[in-house]
């Protein structure tokens, strides 16, 4: 610590420059993570937040909610088989207009039994009472929809928004919930606790069903790929920097060894420097990412909170230390004799 800190302070410019670079890559990691989280929620928050643990789907659907079709008769039987609460879920992607106007709005219509567990909480307005009333995600407000507005679906059907709920998005569209008793087929039976199924139907944990949402896996995979590359870049930048620094300081390490410094002391100094640097970079990058997040428009799918940041932050610090291993090896190899006959310092 004694030497590590003093050297950092003495060679401020070098270390500030390198922190700047890592701060930028770390900020990018956080922002892309926020985007991944935001897109994930935008795509699937209605399923993530569903008041159930398993979805029973048609076995042939291979876990894809949209490909699973269960006749109502069968759905009722499945519900009766369950030990805990269960409700049917029907998902339909639709286009709607406000009161028959020109503007088309995409939305997902989620239908379930009256009084079932799947209806979300009301944040504003009131719970649907009549058959033509729906509970809408509050992101529809950005489309200009207010309580009491009429959503026209096709020629015949229209619904009235009786209230708003929140965090209910599916496949990048807002979800509208309706309680309905006259469905002929549904997409899934949502089950609490453990699901009981037979051959034609299979139960999928709620989280796995996310992969069945169109484009969900592809989106997340490409963003995660970017994040992994950024980890590797950060590690390499730090590893290369400390490697060059170590080579430059060979004779200093030699002198210290001749004076009686052991490898353990020199190595822990180097690791202290790397951890300090990456922790400072992570700290500043956290501030930058929250700042950038605040500048994004409200409807941009971006979710950044401390929970999103902790995991990448730990990975960055671990990966930075791992990158330093080459330098550590250099330090161990240096012979104190190099100091005694070395050129003047």
């Amino acid at each position: 610590m004694f030497l590590a800190i003093r050297e950092l302070l003495f060679a401020k410019t070098k270390y500030i420059l390198i922190s700047l670079i890592t701060t930028l890559t770390v900020s990018l990691i956080f922002i892309v993570s926020g985007l991944a989280e935001g897109l994930s929620a935008d795509n699937a928050s209605s399923i993530q937040g569903l008041a159930a643990d398993y979805l029973v789907l048609e076995a042939e659907a291979e876990g894809e909610l949209g490909n699973s079709f269960i006749p109502m008769q069968q759905a009722k039987e499945i519900m009766n088989d369950q030990e805990q609460e269960a409700n049917t879920l029907s998902v339909q992607m639709m286009n709607a207009t406000i009161g028959g106007g020109d503007k088309q709005i995409s939305l997902a219509l989620f239908a379930t039994e009256r009084g079932g567990m799947l209806m979300p909480e009301v944040m504003e307005g009131r719970f649907p009472k009549q058959e033509n009333e729906v509970l809408a995600d509050d992101s529809l407000k950005q489309e200009g929809i207010q309580i009491g507005d009429e959503l026209q679906l096709g020629e015949k059907t229209s619904y009235v928004v009786s209230g708003f709920t929140t965090d209910q998005r599916y496949s990048h569209t807002p979800v509208v919930f309706i309680e309905s008793e006259d469905l002929k087929q549904v997409n899934a039976v949502a089950v609490k606790g453990v699901a009981v199924t037979d051959g034609d139907y299979s139960a999928v944990p709620k989280i796995d069903a996310l992969g069945g949402i169109p484009s969900y896996s592809q989106e997340q995979a490409s963003l995660n790929m970017m994040i992994i590359f950024l980890y590797v870049i950060t590690a390499f930048v730090l590893a290369a920097f400390f490697y060059v620094m170590t080579l430059q300081k060979r004779d200093q390490f030699g002198v210290l060894k001749a004076l009686g410094a052991n490898n353990k002391y020199l190595i822990s100094g180097l690791i202290t420097q790397i951890i300090l640097l990456s922790v400072v970079s992570v700290g500043i990058a956290t501030a930058i990412s929250f700042g950038v997040g605040a500048l994004f428009p409200a409807d941009m799918p971006f979710i950044l909170n401390m929970a999103t940041i902790v995991q990448p932050a730990i990975i960055i610090i671990v990966v930075s230390v791992l990158g330093a291993v080459v330098s550590l090896y250099q330090v161990v190899k240096i012979d104190p004799l190099e100091a005694i006959e070395g050129v003047a310092a």
Binding site: V255, A258, A339, I340, A345
Partner: protein, 221 residues
């Protein structure tokens, strides 16, 4: 502290060739004695000093510090002996560029896990009291070398080894520095060995040893 080298051989392996740098070198330095080593370039002076200071292990022979043979100790143990018992002064000062003068000395206490004492006394002793908060690049060559000597002495080592400590200094500065070293050795009852090419500083040594072709040739009492 006494330093004893008994029948020390050092053979450098240079590819297939072998080079005998020290050939049956023996010498003794008693407590309070300041010994100068002279000899032509390439005769093995630095090699002898490195072996005495546990920076290099001999091919054969014994190196006894107060009776303990350091030639057979592990690397880790040897590093510890250097820290506890040996003070080095190199040809160049080899100060750490990022440390202020006071910290050049403090680092030894830190390495030895000893409390940092007031370094003002020892620095005043070397005429450096007004340079305590300066970095090495702000010091003159002579001042740097005096800091290096102060650093070698701060842990109160019983053996002081100096390899051409005056090489980077003009002759009056050089004399001053060697005088300081001799005084520390004599008054502190330490063993001191200095390699030098500079004849003007030989007067401060209690004894002069000449090395030629890896052999201790001439001991002048």
């Amino acid at each position: 502290m006494t330093l004893v080298l008994e029948h020390v051989h050092k053979v450098y392996q240079d590819g297939p060739k072998e080079y005998v740098a020290l050939n049956d070198a023996s010498l003794q330095v008693k407590a309070g004695e300041f010994v100068a080593i002279v000899g032509p370039s390439g005769s093995g002076k630095s090699t002898l000093l490195s072996i005495a200071g546990a920076l290099l292990s001999p091919t054969s022979g014994k190196v006894l510090l107060d009776g303990e043979n350091i030639a057979t100790l592990s690397k880790k143990e040897v590093t510890k002996r250097r820290l506890e018992k040996i003070g080095f002064v190199f040809q160049a000062a080899h100060l750490l560029p990022y440390l202020k003068v006071k910290d050049q000395l403090n680092v030894i206490s830190v390495l030895a896990h000893k409390p940092k004492q007031k370094k003002a006394d020892i620095l005043a002793h070397f005429g450096l009291e007004h340079r305590i908060n300066n970095y090495p690049n702000e010091l003159s060559g002579g001042e740097r070398q005096r800091v290096a000597i102060a650093r070698a002495l701060v842990n109160d080592p019983k053996l002081i080894l100096a390899d051409e400590p005056t090489a980077s200094l003009d002759s009056s500065r050089g004399q001053e520095v060697v005088k300081l070293l001799a005084k520390e050795v004599n008054e502190g009852n330490k063993a001191g060995v200095m390699v030098t090419h500079d004849e003007r500083v030989l007067g401060f040594a209690d004894r002069i040893i000449t090395i030629r072709d890896g052999k201790v040739e001439f001991v002048n009492d």
